[in-house]
């Protein structure tokens, strides 16, 4: 009878992203600066500065550093993002992710250990939107508290 509100999952298991042949890759050791646009899947393992857009899937690898605003169909983040994110469908935030910026996504899952700082807006097309300001405790702060 009562529809449970959409929850922000704290832990989830997601299949690792294996780039298909059509995936555009920015490999580790590669730097991009400017407006990077793609229609297909994108895998970032290097550095991107500026803006990053794809209508398909975006994967941000664990060692990547992105100082850009991001717009993607879906996204999986394992690395560092300094910028706002607009994701049309699902956003998966892995445990090693470090995001500083506002997030807008249809759905979102966050693994334990992920670091987020910014405003988060989830939902929208379903008519129900949750907006919240998020700041996770960093590991340095946790160590300070223990001391």
């Amino acid at each position: 009878m009562f529809k449970s509100p959409k929850k922000m999952e704290t832990e989830t298991t997601v299949q690792p992203h294996v780039p298909s042949q059509a995936t555009t890759v920015i490999a580790r050791g590669v730097k991009v600066e400017g407006d990077f646009n793609s229609d297909g899947d994108v895998l970032i393992e290097g550095e991107v500065k500026g803006s990053l857009k794809t209508t398909s899937d975006l994967s941000v690898g664990g060692e990547s550093v992105i100082a850009a605003d991001i717009k993607a169909g879906t996204a999986t983040v394992s690395g560092r993002v300094d910028g706002n994110m607009i994701i049309d469908a699902q956003l998966v935030v892995k445990s090693s992710a470090n995001i500083h910026g506002d997030i807008v996504a249809e759905t979102m899952s966050v693994e334990k250990g992920a670091q987020l700082e910014g405003k988060v807006s989830i939902g929208g097309s379903s008519g129900t939107t949750q907006r919240t300001e998020v700041r996770t405790e960093t590991s340095e702060e946790k160590d300070k508290d223990k001391a």
Binding site: V25, A27, G29, V30, K31, D35, L43, E45, E47, G50
Partner: protein, 258 residues
Amino acid sequence: MNPAFAYFYDEFLNEKKYEKLLNEVEAEIANKNIGGRIARLAMFRNPQEMMEDLMLGGAKNIVVVGDDTTLKKVIASSQNFDPVFGYLPMGKSNDMADLLGIQRGKVAVDILAGRYIEKLDIGKINDGFFLKEILIKDPRSRVAIEGQFEIRPSENGMMVIRNVSLPDIRHGEQETIGKLELEVIPEVEGTRREKREAQQPKTKLAFHQSRILGDAEITISVDGQTLRGQAFDVTLIPKKLKCITGRRFISRTEKLIA
């Protein structure tokens, strides 16, 4: 003699070691009735004037007898004309022959006589052109793609711009007509094993237009020749070069083996 065919011989073919191969090839040319006028490249001879003379004499097919440098030199001299190019590879540097599916010796004459003509894309770099690739090893360089973003390897490393209408079919590369391809190859440090283990997906981007830039004068290699400058505009000229190739035979053989 067939007036539709004309031949450009490189100067190095005067060396004794090429005599036997040249005799075999010339005998086969005569057998196939595709013999024609011969122009011999030499230091103080102007290739543009030689080309004009041959084309105005009725030649439709210009056959380069030499290596990749000869091929490029002859193509560069044909800017006012639109011949069909053939290639009889000789000498040491014949990568283009491999990409065009042309073997050495008498087989090359069979391919020439078969006249399987393809219209190939060529790359344009400033006022010049390239057939195969541009190597960018200068660490001060970066490449701007379609005027939208710039890309470079982080530390040392290199970039390669390739004409992918000429893929290496022997290695299963796919043909992509109408675009050039940039590959960014970052340097991976460590032992050979560490490098092997660190192998990652490649950064390859297809594009129509790009600009190679440097904060100061940089050095690049265009089809093996060194160029220096601070900026190079790179675009594709689609279907510019009419060329007799043997590529349909390689494709067919690959399919039979598979």
